[in-house]
Structure formats: C-alpha cells, structure tokens
Symmetry: D2
Subunit: 113 residues, 4 copies
C-alpha cells in the first residue's frame, strides 16, 4: 500500500472510531480546510517568514497537518486519488504557465504576455 | 522513492524550471494556501454539498490540487515530512479527542466533558 | 461627524494608545481580516445557519466586529471612505448583475447569459 | 438616517431587486465574506504592502467593498447594529488588551503577562 493510501486509511479509521463521518459532508470539510488554512496563516501574522518559522514552527507543523488531514478526507469522500489530482493540476499549470513565458515572473497566468 | 517524495520532487522541479523559488517565502506560501482553500470553498457557495459536487467536481479537484501543492511546497521548504507531520497530529488529536469522550460529538475539544 | 468617521476615530485611538500602528502595514491588516473572517465562519462549522445563530450569536457578533474593525483600519490607512467604496462597488455590481439577467439567479456574473 | 443605516438600506434594495435573499442564509453569507477576504488578500500575494498598494489599489478597494457589503448583509439579517457591535468589541478588547500590558506588543492577549 502506498504512503498516501495508508495515511487515508489512518485518517478514516480515526473519524470512524469517533463516529464523525455523519458530520463530514463535503461543504463542511471544505469549510474546515479553509479554517485550518487560516490557523496556519495566523502563525505569520505581524511577523516576517523568518520570525514566524523561528518562533512558531511547532504550530506551523500542526496546522499544516490539519490542512493535509482535511484534504485527504475530501479526496477520500470524493473518490479522488491525491497523487492523480496533483499530477493533473501540474499538467494544467504547465499549459497555463509555459516556461518561456512564466520564467522569473510572479504574474497570474491571465497577465502573461 | 515514496509517492509523497516523488510528488514533492515534481512540485519542486516545476517551480525551479520557472525560477519561482525566489518568491516562495513561507509567509507567502501560507497566504497562497489560504487563497486556494477559499477557491476550493467557492465551489460550495450558495449550494448544498450534493449540488456542488454534482456541478463543480472538476473545479473542486483543481482547487484541492492547488491546496495540496502549496502544502507540499511548505513541507519541502521547512524540511518537514508530510507523513510524519500528519501522523504526529493524529496522535495529538487522539489525546484531545479520546474516543470515549468524543464519539458522536462535533464539539471542539475545549468543550468536551 | 458621521457614524462611520466616529467609529474610525475610535478604532484609531484604540490602536494608537497601544502603539500598535507600527505593526499595521496593509498586507498584515488584510491577512488579519481574513483570519477574523475565518473565525466568523467557524461559528457555522458542522452546523446549519439556524443551529449556529441559535447557539453562537454572541461569537458571531464578536467576529463580525473584528472583521469590521480591520476593514475600517484598512480604509483609514489607505485614505478610503468606506461609504464611497461601498457605493462605487454597488454601482459596478449593478452593471455586472443587471436586474433583468440576474434576477433570481445565484450564478457568478461570468455565467449570466 | 445615519450613514450606516442608509448603506444597509441600499445593500438590501440591491439584493431584493434581484430576488437574491432566498440564497442568503447566514452560513453562506459568512462563507461569502471569507471568500471576499481572500480576494482582498490576493492583492498582496508575492508582494510587499507598498508594492500591492502601488499596483492594485483599485482591486483592494473593490474587495474591501465586497467584504463590507457582506458584513452589512449579515448585520441586517441578524438584526445587529454595526456601530453597537463594533463599540461592544472595542470595550471587550480594552479588557483583553489593557494599555499598560499591551502597549507596543503584538502578542495575542493570551500571551500578555
């Protein structure tokens, strides 16, 4: 079993043991993921990257984990393979951001030449 | 090489080929992750879970991918192993949400008996 | 003095008394506003609107206040008049969502006929 | 009529003319507010405050407006007076962040002496 599949198995076992799947509709899972993304970002409030990483690495790890856990729950509930979903998007991004146009530029794809 | 390591390798190759790492400080990566989390949630705006999944599954996949890609970039830049980060948090959650107290309850840990 | 101007005055007096303006660059204020928006949304996690309003109205009020306070700080720092900013956007929305096309429809403007 | 009441009146007239109130339950309004907060923050992605304000002031204004509009809709639907809600929170903040403890410090109240 791949690492990803085994993590999904653990995440599902965790929520099943607590009979939590009854609350886990996709809208509330996406909402929860955005809440955790905000808690991750909170570690950087009023700080530079360096200050935040120096003082809050433990909090950053925990919130990154929460984001990943909700993302895996959503993938599982929607029968999506995280690896395939990522690979597909990298392909789309390759078209939206061709190297010759996007190299060294932070512009959104709609603003490339 | 595990699936996760190979995905991180692809994500890094993508941004290196475009000379984008110069923009990728942790604060802006966490900010970007929260923006993608919002774009994921947007698929559910004004809709029930079922309506959203029925009409926007493709958009949901793309935004989930974007969230995962930024999460992997952050892990990579902070020398974090996504698998270890998730396993550690599931352990912490096991203490915060013991099965006997948390089963069938959606309350936050601070509101458990 | 209008209500809005007097609220901005209070908000500014609050942060000046605490010597907080040194931290208040626009990026961190926008970041903070998004964190408060997430805390507002958290009141609705796993709940319907009715359940949330019935059980968390006090929390909803507090977080709405936090959102409004950061919005007023941003307006103040960027020399924007909240009333003008809102009126301008309602005019733009009137063009993006003409009544004859948008009535009864929840679609984004880009999806209107 | 105060400025705030007259803005709420305009916002309500706008959504009533389009028969949109049928979609406006509090959960989706809070969700929408967080989406707009993310769109506001997007103006600052990969940029410093100065760069963002110099290049995206128009976008910042529009998204600030969207945040304020959703906040006013929520206040209206929950029978809350924005001015009272803000004043109450400033009082609570005064207790959480007494000047003698909080002056010049960016720490969260839970981390003050």
């Amino acid at each position: 079993m791949s690492d990803i599949d085994s993590l999904i198995k653990e995440v599902n076992a965790f929520r099943e043991a607590r009979d939590w799947r009854q609350f886990h509709n996709s809208k509330d899972l996406a909402l929860s993921l955005s809440l955790e993304a905000a808690e991750l970002l909170e570690n950087f409030q009023w700080k530079t990257s360096e200050e935040a990483v120096a003082s809050n690495l433990s909090g950053i790890k925990d919130e990154l984990a929460d984001v990943l856990i909700y993302a895996l729950m959503l993938c599982s509930d929607l029968a999506l393979d995280p690896k395939a979903v990522i690979k597909d998007k990298l392909e789309k991004n390759n078209d939206k951001y061709p190297i010759d146009k996007a190299k060294g530029r932070k512009d959104k794809y709609s603003d490339l030449s």
